[in-house]
Subunit: 231 residues, 4 copies
DNA sequence: AATGAATGAGGGTTCATTCAT
DNA sequence: GATGAATGAACCCTCATTCAT
C-alpha cells in the first residue's frame, strides 16, 4: 500500500435540507481546511479556497470561524479527540505479551491516525508550530505528552515483566514515535510530490521498523521476528 | 546537550573589509534567509526582514535574487550539501566494523547536519515540499536518495560480512533516517516553542536510538550495547 | 438637569398584543434605527443591530425598508415634525409680550425637541448631510426654513410692537437657532463621551443664553432679565 | 461672503524632487484626509480616495499612517496646533475695552479657524466623537476647555472692569461659542448641499450675533452697537 | 551597486442584501 | 409574514517588487 498525494476525500454530493447543512457546515469546513492546510501550509491557503472546497462562499466561512487563525486552531482541536484515554484503557486491559502490545500499538496508530486524514495534523503542527506557539503548547500537552506516556507505560511493563531489556525508557519510547512521525511527514511532503516511481510503502515501512525495534527491545528473540538476529 | 529554542548560531559577523562585502553578499543573504525561513516558514518571512538581517536594504535583496521563490530555492540548493560523494569515500575507506560504521554515521550526521544550521533545510523542505514540487524532487534526488543509498550500502556491508542479520535493507535503512528526521523536525518546531522544562536532549536521544537500532541489526550483541538484551 | 451620556429614553417596551405588532413594526424599527444612527452614525450602525434592537430578525427589517439608505431617510422623515404649522398657530394666537414669546419658544423647543429623541435628528442630519443631499434639502425645507420663518415672525412682531430694537431680523433669528443647535450637537457628541465631571447643564445653558439674547433684543430691560445690564 | 461647499484647496502641481516629497507627504495626506473626512465622514471615506487626492497610491498612505484610524487621529492632532497659548498672550496684553476684545475674538476666530480648513475639524469631531471617545476626550481637553477658559477670562475682565453686567460667566461664554460652532456645522453640512439660493453669509451672521451679544453683555450701550436697543 | 519610497495586486474580513424554509 | 443562513461586493491592509535617485 504505497502512500502518495493528499487523499482528496469525498466531496459535497446532493444538497440536503437547509437545517441539516447548518449543523454539518463546521465539520465540512474543518475537513476542507485540514486538507488544504496540510497540502499547502497555513499561510499559502486562502480562505476562499477553503470555503470553495466546502462548497460554500467566502463569507460563509466567517459565519462559523471568526478568523483564519481560529479556523486553524479549530482544525487542530477537532482532530485531537481525547482518544488517548480510550487507548489507555485498551492497553491497561491488554492481555498479551509486551511484544504484542508494541506491535498492536504501531498497527493501531497506522489504522487510526497514520492512514487517515488525522495524520495531516502532525504535519501541520510541526510545520506551523513556530507561528502558533500557544497551539504548539496545547498540542504538546494534549497529544505529544499523553502519547509519550502511553508508550512509556508499555515499555515499562515489558521491562518489569522481564520481556524487555532494561533501558532508558523515556528516550527508548521515541523508537516508536520517530518512525510514525517520519512516515507521516514523508507522506504529506516529499511522497505527495513524487508521482509513482519512488513511493514509500507504509506497511512495509512499519513492518521493517517494528521488526528491528522489537529485536532491540526484547530479551528473548521476539515471536514475530525475522530469523538470524542477535541470538 | 538539550536542544530547544532555535539555536541562533553564528549571526551577523562584524563588518569585514568593504572590498569583499560585495562577493559575500549572496552568502549573507542566503544565511539570513535560511534562518528566517526555518524560524517562521517561507510565507511568514518578509523579504524586508531577510534584507535587514543581512544588513542591506530591501532593494539590494532583489539585486541578487529576482523573486522570493528564487531566494528560497537558492537557500535550499546552497544548503543541500553535495558532500555525499565525499562521505561515500569516507565510508568506502572505512576500516572498522559495520556497527562502528552505523555509530559513526549517526554521530557524523548530528555533527555536520543535525546541530548545524543545515538541519533547518530538512524542516523547511518537508514543510514546503508541496509548494515547491520541483525543489522537492531535487531534494529527494540530491539528499534523500544518496543518503538512503549510503545507508543501504552500510547495512548491506554488515549483512555480507555476517555482522548484521539478513533484512529488508531498503526499508531497514529508514531505521537510521527516521530518528534523524524526527529529531530535526522536533528541534525546529515544538522544541523551539516549549520553554526549558521539556527539552529533547539530542545526544541522549541519539544514544538511545543507536543502541536499540544496533541491538536489532546485529547478529552478535553489539560492542557498545547495553547489557541484558536478546542474547 | 445636566445632560451627558446618550439619554437612553424609553427603550424596548414590553411585548404588546400580537395583533398590533405588525402595524407597530415600522415604528419600532424606526425608533431603534434613530437611536443607533444618532449614537454611532449612519455608517457605523449595522442593519442587524437595528433589527435586534427592534426585536426582529435581520430579514424582517428589509421587509419594511428596501435598503439601509431608505431606512435612514425614513428615520429622518418620520422624525421631522410637520408640526410647524401647529406651532405657528400657537404663536399666532399668542397673547403675551414678544419677550415672553421668545422665552416660550426656547422653552418649548427644549421640551419638544431638545430633550427628546427627536434632537438626534439634528445631529444626524448635520453629520450626514453631504452623503444625503436630497435629504438635506428636504430637511432644510421642512425644518430649517419653517423654524427660521417662525422665529423671524416673532422677532418682526417684537420690532413692530416697539418691544424689540430694529434689527437684521433674518440673521438675528440665528440668535435663537445657534444655541439650540449647539446644545444638541454637544449633547450627542462630546457630552456623550465625557464622564460626569464636565457636563453641560441644559437648563442653565438655556437660561444664560435666553437672558443675554433678550437683553440684546429688547428696548426696555426685559422682565425676566438679570439686573445690572445696559439700562 | 457666502459660504458653501468644501473649499477644494490647491492640488499637487509640479512633481518636486523625491526627497522633498517624503517630507511633504504626511502633510499632503493629512490635508486630503481632512477634506474627505469632513465632506463624507470617516467611515464613508475610503483610504484609496485619500491617497488618490494626495496624488499617491493606496499603499503609500499606509507607509505614513499605520491604520485609517491613526490617520484620523493624526488629522485631528495636526489641526489642533497649540495656538491657544499664543491667543492667550494676545489677549493678556490686550489694551482695549472688553467690548473690543469680544469683537476681536470673534473676528479672529473666523479668520483663523472659521474660514480656513481647520473649521472642518470641529464638524468632524462633533460628528464622529462617539466612535472615537478617546479622541473626543483629547479634543475636549485640548480645544474646548482652553477656548472656553479664554472666553471666560475675557468676560470676567469685562465684569471686573464694570464694562459687562454681572453674569453666570461660565455659561455666558457659550454665547460666543455657540454661534461659531453653529456656523461651522452649517458651513460643512447643509450649506455645502444647497447650491446658491440659500447661502449663509458668514460675515453678516457674525455681525448680527456680535451685535446682539454685546448689547446683552454691556452695561452701557456698546460703541459698535446698533441704535435703539435697551437704553 | 545600493537605497528606500512608491506601487498595486492579493487576501482577510465585514455587512447589506437575498431567499429557501 | 418572519427567519437567519448564505452570498459576494467592497474595503482595509500587507508586502513582493519596481525604479528614480
Amino acid at each position: 500500500m504505497p502512500i502518495a498525494a493528499g487523499t482528496p476525500a469525498d466531496q459535497a454530493p446532493v444538497q440536503p435540507k437547509r437545517e441539516r447543512r447548518k449543523e454539518a457546515r463546521p465539520r465540512e469546513l474543518l475537513a476542507a481546511a485540514l486538507d488544504l492546510f496540510v497540502e499547502k501550509g497555513f499561510a499559502a491557503t486562502r480562505s476562499e479556497e477553503v470555503a470553495a472546497r466546502a462548497g460554500v462562499s467566502k463569507g460563509t466561512l466567517f459565519l462559523y470561524f471568526p478568523t483564519k487563525e481560529e479556523l486553524f486552531k479549530a482544525v487542530v482541536r477537532e482532530n485531537i479527540s481525547g482518544r488517548f484515554s480510550e487507548w489507555n484503557d485498551e492497553f491497561l486491559s491488554f492481555d498479551g505479551s509486551s511484544e504484542e502490545m508494541v506491535r498492536y500499538c504501531l498497527k493501531v496508530w497506522w489504522e487510526r491516525i497514520g492512514e487517515t486524514r488525522a495524520s495531516g495534523i502532525t504535519k501541520l503542527m510541526l510545520s506551523e508550530a513556530q507561528n502558533f506557539p500557544d497551539l504548539a503548547a496545547f498540542y504538546h500537552q494534549e497529544v505529544v505528552q499523553p502519547g509519550q506516556e502511553l508508550i512509556c507505560r508499555i515499555l515499562q511493563r515489558g521491562v518489569e515483566r522481564g520481556e524487555f531489556r532494561p533501558m532508558d525508557v523515556e528516550y527508548a519510547a521515541y523508537g516508536l514515535t520517530a518512525p510514525m512521525v517520519f512516515l507521516t511527514m514523508m507522506k504529506h511532503s516529499l511522497c505527495a510530490c513524487m508521482p509513482k516511481d519512488t513511493p514509500l510503502d507504509a506497511e512495509r515501512f512499519i513492518a521493517a521498523q517494528t521488526d528491528n525495534l522489537l529485536l532491540g527491545l526484547c530479551i528473548r528473540p521476539p515471536a514475530g521476528a525475522p530469523a538470524g538476529s542477535a541470538s
